[in-house]
Symmetry: C2
Subunit: 225 residues, 2 copies
């Protein structure tokens, strides 16, 4: 028990170190001997603390290379705590209702706020999703990235992280709804959304995002019944 508490204290000390030194994702942490001295802890305790932080997606341990600030920025694998929700169908519709509330607004913000570089990246990502679909590859990751790029272009930090979180659930949506109709909705509306953002048309971007998600919702409900 004392040992667990010590490991937890060490984990908190490592977090403080990261914050105080304003380390960014990908930055390397001090070596083990350096860190043991800085935090005044033994090797075993330091390793336990680092393991706790790895389990929380705050640190990546790369064997032989050291420990690094994780690009996941402490965002967990199941941020919404959905691992233990057992009614999957209901969950997919609930998730779409949440996305319908957020994502049209986020697309509207992106159309007015995005930098030129962000607009170009969103267009390219629409191309990438289309390429995956047409070649029959899985497009789950590419789809999630498309929605995330839009949220990051909204200029609101919390929307960016939140959309990332909601999109970790997109895999579930796609699995249930994968078919030709769903794929053509995605290709058509991703393209329209990307164009509206590129051309600085906030209302079009919001409307196209809304249509994209509403068609998906209708489709999921028809499959369910």
């Amino acid at each position: 028990m004392a040992k667990a508490t010590l490991a937890e204290e060490t984990a908190q000390a490592v977090i403080r170190y990261i914050i105080d030194n304003r380390l960014l994702p990908g930055d390397k942490l001090p070596t083990e001997p350096e860190f043991m001295e800085k935090l005044s802890v033994g090797r075993g305790t330091l390793r336990e603390g680092i393991k706790l932080l790895a389990a929380r997606n705050i640190i990546d341990i790369r064997q032989g290379a050291g420990s690094f600030v994780s690009p996941k920025r402490g965002i967990p694998d199941d941020p919404l705590g959905l691992t233990f929700i057992y009614d999957d169908n209901e969950l997919v519709v609930d998730m779409l209702d949440v996305r319908l509330l957020f994502e049209p607004h986020v697309a509207r913000l992106a159309a007015s706020q995005a930098t030129e570089q962000q607009r170009a990246a969103i267009m390219e990502q629409a191309d990438e999703v289309e390429r995956c679909i047409k070649s029959g590859e899985s497009y789950i990751a590419a789809d999630a990235r498309f929605h995330r790029l839009i949220a990051e272009a909204s200029g609101n930090i919390v929307f960016g992280n939140l959309t990332y979180i909601l999109n970790t659930s997109i895999a579930k949506n796609i699995e249930i709804t994968k078919d030709a109709q769903r794929d053509s909705n995605t290709i058509r509306y991703h393209r329209r959304i990307a164009l509206a953002i590129k051309n600085g048309k906030p209302n079009d971007a919001a409307s196209d995002m809304s249509m994209h998600l509403q068609l998906l919702r209708e489709f999921v409900r028809e499959k369910m019944h």
Copy 2:
């Protein structure tokens, strides 16, 4: 490295066990010897796996009593990954913009969907927040619980969990804005929101929630500049 992987595999096996047996928060896991046999792993590996799950808020280890499914349901302590966002002022406003988008909607749903029991619990919680404020106690936890009860009464699983997540950040809001004006906004509008939900008035509930958050947002911005 092999050991870390084995612990992770064990953690996954424990999650599968929880799902397969549909265990709920607070349920006890099998004893160590039983679990070692079920999962065909040694004591050290099992303990490492359980520790990983405790770090992810999936399991609570109670010394001497055993391991239990955590009421946190795997929702992490920093679900939005805000530990490493360094501009706090900007973060508070961004957070309020997100809450403004969805809490009025959630209050509207609660006013039409909540059970009698849920309506009563929301009223009681408004009383509790008021009591804390008037007695000078910290009301961070009571405030978060008020907003969470409303979200849970919306009938949408994802809104419930999401509000819990956004409310882990309410502490930050309150710290920045704690003063008499803020407190009276909270007392007045919590009461109005609770009454609108109790009386089944969706538009009033949405409007009162919107006012509550907009006044808070205005207040935070004035403090910032």
